[in-house]
Symmetry: C2
Subunit: 386 residues, 2 copies
């Protein structure tokens, strides 16, 4: 197994890109990643995407995008794991390169959502849940997360206001990220009075959808003769699943797949949670931020919101999260999100995060969650100066 | 890079399974494969599927199926590459195990098509083509293949009747395959007079859709202490893409991605086309059988139909194809097809193909084609008795 590095990164802003097609967005991110790495060729393409078949009547995305960017005849496939499709694509690229079968691979996450009607997007997002035993009963994806949040508040005694810091922190960090979807600072009062979506989840608990693409170029470490940037290695990578239906879980308030994948990644990287400098977690809803922090060992069970309330999650805190806005404010172009998390982590580790820079960031963790915690991919990245 | 073997195989009949859901079909194939290998556990699941989002409003198939079969918490994703999704999933499983990151992987191909209306299936199949530059102009997937076949007949002077042997051979071989969709012998006269779909493709040039699932268990060769069956190694595996739109190809009558992936697979396996004992090719339409034979070096350019006319493709011929019915008569449950091809090849190599057995079969080739030749995955399997 060869050690691999992320040599190039690229992204588009997350936005309503009504003037750009899916292939154009993906192409932009890929060409940016190749340019960043000063390469022109790549051997394989892994596309993270969830909803192109339903929303834009286009599958065969691997071919579509390889063709569009002029990487003609390379191997190219789409990888789907609901909202964790992006990180799953990165992991497939990593394994292809690790195996020695592929010498360089691009993983691009892309989603084109804002051309469709809201109801179509809601229906498409619901395909992450169990169509036969959840969705047919009328529960939407937000609804499932609302049930989890309500139970969590009941079990552990938190009030809705206690989740405010997650959203406030994300919005604050997004202001200086030019690629973020939202650039508005929000207050506790605004958080508390935002429009209700599915009780207790209101508009400021939920991440916005969007169009966007992010890409990484993965190559074997031993193939590099020289490099102008600090090397970013993938020190840990793991994925795990859980029951697809929330009601089938013994404990719906514990992200078992997050715990399993994080523990494996820690072990591979030889680090503990205390050594993680910042954590790009999957704050699709504020409750998910709390659950992710707990399952990965940053907070005790039921105590996730405390890290928001005591300031630990801010850029100068003990475990900064959503350092460039997170899903909440950078935006959540579903199949692209997991790759955005990794691209942003590389920016931080390289020291290229400008106003959002975390000081002395050397070890980063990313966690991409598919479904209501049913498919989770965790990566640990490390800056190597040697 | 570790050498890998196919230790277990499983399949369901291809049929209109109105009484079984997608997860049930996939589960049946997976449990059959585990039973065949005498295993109960596996580390990762790769699901080949193209249309579940559109046709049954279900994505997150990796999680769905892992959960259903009781392989809870394992890593699980869906791989999509249009009609080559099945073989693409096998290739991802192979790379995962080769890399050493995963110790055993199931690749299952599954598609559930017959619950949807015919027009919905036609629209879903069209997502393999270019939505912006082909499909919006009204050309269906059969239409694209019809254009290719018509040009081929014009360029090389073949008559429609010259393609008859491809369909006749496939139907004949399917009669004794209990898992095949169609069990009717057809005559030249029936072929010639079948209902026209898109000139010159008639009903007996086209493969039937269906519901079905097929699975393989992949493990490292060096992990095996003893085995009751002859070992089947994956000696060659390669994938390539082409332009997604047929009109963008310099030569729409040449499957460049088939040529590239076959040449790589030959090189890896250290064999020539002459050493291939049989070839499970992608006869979604009879024209595709001809083009595949040419691109892989079994026939000169424009001479594919000759191998049908001179009997080379029959079970006793020089290069048997569709030995258990092929797409034409075993059926084409799209995302599952590539795995069926590999499962059937393993049956032949093990000497377990009963009445369909190819004598002295030691080296098999499979080729799974996505889109109109835009995404192609080729495998070479070898029987090892040592």
């Amino acid at each position: 197994m060869r050690e691999v590095v992320i040599l190039g990164i690229g992204q588009t802003p997350v936005d309503e890109h009504w003037d750009k097609s899916l292939r154009e967005l993906a192409g932009e991110a890929i060409l940016n990643a190749l340019k960043d790495a000063q390469r022109e060729e790549v051997d394989a393409l892994y596309v993270g995407n969830m909803m192109s078949g339903i929303l834009i009547q286009q599958e065969n995305l691997g071919t579509l995008i390889a063709d569009w960017v002029g990487l003609r005849h390379i191997e190219a496939v789409k990888v789907e794991a609901a909202c964790s499709s992006g990180a799953a694509a990165v992991r497939q690229a990593l394994m292809a390169v690790s195996s020695g079968i592929i010498d360089s691979a691009i993983a691009v996450g892309v989603e084109k959502m804002t051309d469709a009607k809201g109801t179509e997007v809601t229906a498409a997002l619901a395909t992450a849940a169990d169509a036969d035993y959840e969705t047919t009963h009328g529960v939407s994806f937000v609804g499932l997360n609302a049930l989890i949040m309500q139970r969590y508040m009941y079990e552990y005694g938190w009030k809705h206001a206690d989740f405010a810091p997650f959203s406030i922190n994300a919005h604050l960090n997004a202001i200086t990220n030019p690629n973020a979807r939202l650039h508005e600072k929000i207050s506790e009062k605004e958080y508390a009075s935002a429009k209700m979506i599915a009780y207790p989840i209101n508009l400021l608990d939920a991440s916005p959808i969007g169009d966007g693409a992010a890409a990484v170029l993965i190559v074997p470490k031993d193939s590099l003769r020289h490099n102008h940037k600090p090397l970013i290695t993938i020190a840990g990578s793991a994925a795990a699943s859980d029951t697809i239906a929330v009601h089938d879980r013994k404990d719906p308030l514990w992200l078992k797949a997050a715990e399993i994948s994080a523990q494996k990644a820690y072990q591979q990287a030889g680090v503990t949670p205390q050594e993680i400098d910042f954590f790009e977690l999957h704050d699709a809803f504020s409750i998910m931020a709390a659950l992710s922090l707990e399952a990965c060992g940053f907070a005790e069970r039921g105590q996730g919101p405390r890290l928001g309330l005591d300031g630990s999650i801010t850029r100068n805190g003990k475990i900064p999260i959503a350092t460039l806005g997170g899903l909440k404010a950078r935006g959540h172009p579903v199949g692209a999100t997991g790759v955005y998390q990794i691209v942003e982590s590389v920016l931080q580790l390289r020291g290229e995060a400008a106003e959002n820079q975390i000081s002395k960031a050397r070890i980063a963790m990313t966690q991409n969650i598919g479904g209501s915690g049913s498919n989770i991919v965790t990566h640990i990245l490390r800056r190597e100066d040697g």
